[in-house]
Symmetry: C2
Amino acid sequence: MSSVSKSLLQGAQEALDYAEGNTKGSKTRHVHVPKQIDVKSIRETLHMSRSEFSSHFGFNPRTIEKWEQGVRQPDGSARAYLTVISKNPKAVERALKQ
Amino acid sequence: MSSVSKSLLQGAQEALDYAEGNTKGSKTRHVHVPKQIDVKSIRETLHMSRSEFSSHFGFNPRTIEKWEQGVRQPDGSARAYLTVISKNPKAVERALKQ
DNA sequence: TTGCCTTATACCCCAATGGGGTATATAATA
DNA sequence: TATTATATACCCCATTGGGGTATAAGGCAA
């Protein structure tokens, strides 16, 4: 399967999951954390090398390397964190520096 | 060793690491991510149950449970994320909701 | 009272991950 | 030229993430 098809399927599945979550009447608003995440594009959008990205956000550079090469997949907490970074990197940097 | 002693030693070690990092003339400013982190106190400061905390920040509730009970230690990325949450939870929530 | 739901502790289990070591290659910079 | 930064690519393994299940206690509604 192409990576585009995979992406589309993933999106569809997530939409289903989300709808299901709603119809089941959960009380807390669940935050959306994608099951797959493109670490390299997040990093490149910020114009940072791997070591810059790592030291700015508190990652181990080896871990970033593995994620970007597809050798490992970021676990749930890491995906949540990466999502936050991708949406508001400056807020994250500010929080970590203070 | 008492947990207090452990804390003191840890702090000292981190100070050393930090100083070393500086004297070695690294160009990028390294962000400080503690090697141990009190997940429960972060959560309780926010007045959230484990499931609330999980759904607000994209964690798996089982993972939070393990961390708080000391059964598991959050890995590096999780500690960085938890640090950000503890310093600016609202910014994180905003980022995840948008 | 009884029953239900939420929260929390406490086990077992295991594939997958995080993170370290090391080697190689290339582009940039001094 | 030599050196440094960046990146790919292996090996390795203790630790983690996350799921299953059982128990117990507090709050709340019927």
